[in-house]
């Protein structure tokens, strides 16, 4: 991480960048926040470790409007989102100096808490240059430890690969963390009976409090004014009174990002209620791959996405009934 800080200071000093977008240590050891660093001394609390899961591409939309270049640290899965935003002219490539930071899989504090580890004072073993094998957690009830893998975010278990799609330079090495099939969960749900499926989503979505955190963090979901806030669609309900409204919100949100969602997993990570929102997007990705050919959003700059393209021999909608 020190190498990253030195490089950032260097670029800031010689004026190639006007500011650095990275993470600042939060009040707890496991919640670093994205922050701008403009002066030398700000770097004191710059941090980049296993808990820095945030996808900084979305911040670049506003950053592109500021004066001068912005240095941004992008993990491999963030670079897909950056390319998607470039495709849609929302970020300005030459206003961004991209450092591809290494990644050994990011951690999910909810999982650590779920293991019964409470009263956390400090965590070691989560630094970027550690081996990322085990975490030793110093808590007020004594020292606890757990395997790095068990605390990893779900999205890192199905990681899309550690090579950065777009970068100016790369700092820090990465470690392969993929050990699960990306669509396993989706297939498990698809295999359920309609009643079970309905019950599963009813239970999950009834927890939704419409805090819009998923919308605010999603790089693909970056409209200037969301359809759920404008009077363009008569759908501007904020407080939901009935079970169907969350379904409507989440299905339509999944639809709007379909073909553009890079499966960066941020929506599930930030959801305060822990709803597995990535299941919606991944379902669309699975369908698109099966019906219209493998497609990874953000892997290239080709403007045609699956929902704005067609082939004469596409499958008929009736296929859904046949597939069961």
């Amino acid at each position: 991480m020190q190498e990253l800080i030195n490089r950032a200071k260097e670029l800031l000093a010689d004026g190639t960048v006007a500011r650095v977008l990275g993470w600042k240590a939060g009040d707890l050891p496991y919640n670093p926040e994205p922050a701008y660093f403009e002066k030398e001394e700000d770097f004191a609390d710059f941090v980049y470790n296993g808990f820095c899961g945030a996808n900084l591409s979305k911040y670049m939309i506003e950053a592109s409007k500021l004066e001068g270049k912005t240095l941004v640290c992008l993990k491999p899965c963030d670079t897909y989102s950056f390319q998607e935003l470039m495709k849609e002219h929302r970020v300005d490539r030459d206003k961004a100096y991209i450092i591809g930071v290494g990644c050994k899989g990011k951690l999910d504090i909810e999982k650590i808490k779920a293991m019964g580890i409470k009263g956390i004072k400090s965590i070691s073993g989560a630094e970027i240059d550690d081996e990322a094998e085990t975490l030793t957690i110093d808590t007020i009830y004594g020292e606890k430890s757990c395997a790095y893998k068990d605390a990893m975010l779900e999205r890192c278990h199905v990681c899309k690969g550690k090579d950065h799609m777009i970068f100016d330079e790369i700092i820090g090495e990465s470690k392969e963390t993929k050990d699960a099939d990306r669509f396993a969960e989706v297939e498990k749900i698809e295999a359920m009976s309609p009643e079970e499926k309905f019950a599963f989503f009813q239970k999950e979505l009834s927890k939704c409090i419409r805090c819009n955190a998923c919308r605010n963090v999603c790089p693909a979901c970056s409209c200037r004014k969301c359809v759920f806030d404008s009077n363009k669609f008569d759908s501007a309900q904020k407080a939901n009174v009935d079970s169907f409204e969350e379904k409507m919100f989440h299905i339509i949100r999944a639809f709007h990002v379909a073909g553009r969602c890079t499966d960066c997993g941020e929506c599930s990570r930030v959801c305060p209620q822990g709803i597995p929102l990535h299941l919606f997007n991944r379902k669309f990705i699975k369908d698109i791959n099966e019906l219209y050919g493998e497609y990874q959003a953000g892997a290239d700059l080709e403007p045609r996405t699956p929902l704005t393209d067609y082939r004469f021999e596409d499958a008929e909608p009736g296929i859904v009934a046949e597939r069961g």
Partner: protein, 662 residues
């Protein structure tokens, strides 16, 4: 709030028969925004429209809902009525309570309830309507005719007569089409080429008509008044300016084995050929699959003997791009394939032929030089059997469900000509019904029966069995005498069904003209607009629209020409105002909409925008109203709802959905 007037039409008893119009009016009065509701027997009549004028003026209406027949029928009528009374014509909505309600429901109470719901949806929609003004688009004063048969020729001549330039695109090396293959024509027994060749000459000589033969339409873009068409002029390997049409090359060409399409494969032709003597243009074409020079590189005799030096082996296909205001489809027809009708032994015996093949045999320029003879042994047939409705009026998938309309007449013609020229030949016709619906048609058929003794038998033929002695045993039924007939015939002629030329489906897709399952192009209205396609600017001439004979084809060709002239005569066209529009405050500039726009009507520009005090330049989508046709694909691709369609906006459709599901 809008001031809306609702008018419920009785349409005589069409609506009032199964919908309680009084109840609909009463329910309409309670709808939000409705200040005037009344019913009348015929809203589309002068008196009906007068009621609309009076209501608009007196009650100062800002919106109008007419519950009547389909908007595709009278939407323009009621819009004009509103305009005359000073109301913007696009503040009018139609509730279809006839085709979608009164005509298809029996129970009065059920139909009335549905009519009320449809009325509510229309009122909900008109509440959110905004006044619109149609834009204008230019008209290119040039017409394109696809197909060079009698239909295409007649249309081209009529359009050129009105002073507009016309291009004809013909797939085969010469114009003339199906008619050039006929011997005589009914009901006047004129010789077909005697009445066709002068017209072909006229077309060839006409200064305003340009003919592309051996060419096909490659692609069509744009829309009414402004079509951009790419025509592929296939390489003829003969320079059309130099060639004098002397025909020496055809004589000397050593490769003589390919089958002549013009003679329906009954005779052969050389590799370099003109389809028939009176071909226009009289310039041969090299069939590159049969030509020895192209196959092996040797030969080249034709270029040696040609004094005009017109042969050019490395001529390439040429793509010509041209702009047109109107396009007329005149692609004609062909006989269906008979390989699935093996009960008639068409593919087993050479003496079982189709009527078109008989035309060629009886034609002086045909394979047998006009002598009627059996193709198997060349003898003159003494006993000929005609079988009607082969493949027509068939509900199974082998044939066509429709009646091909022209077979009864041309079979009567064939029978009469044969009996006249060879009096000792017996002719028998097996028929289901003889259909002669035209001027002098039935008299013509009666002459065949009374003066020439053609033996008409009401009944069908079960099967035709080729006998070892070369004759054909025909097993048919005579329903009148209730006898089974076993007749030994020398020749059997099948009056096979006709179907549109293959390749018409590809052209229909290019022109976005709708086409039915039998591959006939669908007309805008079966009775009132038979020569126009629902797609504006596309006109239908000839059999591509449905089976018809030459008199009807020529009259329809003229009608299509008049419609095209009506379009070309205008300097500008009113365009559909229901186009897409992007709200600059909501647009993200993400260019998803440009990907789905079929007309390329969306462009992007950086614009200074004041979004509630934030002043910044943003990348905004801009819709070109002249190009946009209002399909709405962009409105659904736009996540933020910035792109909306005027006349069918998101809130309007949602209002209709709410009104229906309330």
């Amino acid at each position: 709030m809008q001031r809306i007037g609702v008018f419920v039409c009785h349409c005589g008893t069409n609506i009032a028969g199964t919908v309680d119009v009084k109840k609909v009016v009463e329910m309409a009065a309670h709808e939000p925004g409705v200040v005037h509701a009344e019913d009348y027997a015929y809203m589309c009549s002068e008196a009906g429209q007068e009621k609309i004028h009076k209501a608009i003026k007196e009650k100062k209406l800002t919106g109008l809902v007419v519950c009547s027949c389909s908007p595709r029928m009278h939407e323009t009528t009621f819009r004009n009525a509103a305009e005359k009374a000073g109301l913007n014509p696009y503040m009018v909505e139609i509730a279809n309570i006839r085709e979608h309600c009164s005509w298809i429901h029996k129970d009065m109470e059920e139909a009335t309830e549905k009519a009320v719901i449809l009325m509510r949806a229309a009122v909900a929609k008109v509440n959110l309507d905004a006044p619109l003004k149609p834009g204008e688009s230019k008209v290119t004063k040039r017409a394109l005719v696809i197909g060079g048969g009698i239909a295409g020729i007649q249309t081209a001549l009529d359009i050129a007569e009105a002073g507009y330039p016309v291009d004809i695109v013909e797939k085969t090396p010469s114009i003339g089409g199906r008619m050039s293959q006929l011997d005589k024509t009914f009901p006047t027994l004129d010789c077909s080429s005697c009445i066709l060749t002068p017209k072909m000459g006229e077309v060839n000589a006409h200064p305003l008509i340009n003919i592309y033969t051996y060419s096909e339409v490659e692609s069509v873009a744009g829309f009414v008044g402004d079509f951009t068409v790419e025509i592929r002029k296939k390489a003829r390997s003969v320079d059309m300016n130099k060639c004098t049409g002397c025909g020496l090359c055809q004589e000397k060409c050593p490769s003589k084995k390919s089958l002549s399409e013009f003679n329906r494969g009954l005779s052969t032709r050389s590799a370099i050929y003109t389809p028939f003597a009176q071909a226009v243009p009289n310039v041969p074409v090299i069939d590159r699959d049969a030509c020895i020079k192209f196959k092996t590189g040797k030969c080249g005799i034709c270029s040696k003997v040609c004094q005009a030096g017109a042969i050019d082996y490395d001529q390439k296909d040429e793509i010509i791009t041209e702009k047109y205001g109107a396009i007329v489809v005149a692609t004609g027809f062909d006989m269906i394939k008979l390989d699935r009708y093996d009960e008639y032994a068409y593919s087993q015996s050479k003496d079982v032929i189709t009527s078109l093949e008989l035309e060629r045999i009886m034609n002086a320029a045909g394979p047998t030089g006009g002598h009627l003879e059996r193709l198997s042994d060349g003898k003159a047939p003494k006993e000929i059997v005609f079988i009607q409705c082969v493949g027509s009026r068939c509900a199974d998938d082998r044939g066509k469900s429709y009646c091909s309309k022209i077979c009864c007449m041309y079979t009567a013609k064939h029978a009469m000509l044969i009996r006249d020229k060879y009096p000792d030949t017996n002719v028998t016709v097996f028929y289901i019904d003889v259909r002669t619906p035209g001027k002098n048609f039935d008299e013509f058929y009666r002459r065949a029966v009374e003066d020439y003794g053609v033996n008409y038998i009401k009944g069908q033929v079960g099967k035709v069995i080729p006998q070892p002695n070369g004759k054909l045993l025909v097993q048919g039924a005579d329903l009148i005498d209730s006898k089974q007939i076993l007749k030994e015939a020398d020749m059997v002629v099948l009056a096979a069904a006709i179907e549109p030329n293959e390749g018409v489906r590809k052209i229909a897709t290019m022109l976005t003209a709708s086409i039915d399952t039998n591959n006939f192009l669908t007309e805008a209205h079966a009775k009132l607009r038979p020569v126009e396609s629902p797609t504006a600017g596309i006109f239908l001439s000839g059999v591509c629209q449905g089976p018809k004979d030459i008199p009807e084809t020529v009259s329809q060709a003229g009608a299509a020409a008049v419609k095209a002239i009506g379009l070309l005569a205008k300097d500008k066209l009113l365009t559909n105002p229901c186009t897409a529009h992007s709200d600059e405050l909501l647009c993200n500039g993400c260019s998803q909409c440009a990907n789905v726009c079929p007309y390329g009507a969306i462009t992007y520009e950086d614009k200074e925008v004041n979004d509630h005090g934030i002043r910044e330049t943003r990348r905004i989508a801009v819709v070109n109203d002249a190009l946009c046709q209002g399909c709405g694909a962009c409105t659904v691709t736009c996540p933020s709802g910035a792109m909306d369609l005027q006349g069918f906006s998101n809130r309007q459709i949602l209002a209709e959905v709410d009104a229906i599901c309330r």
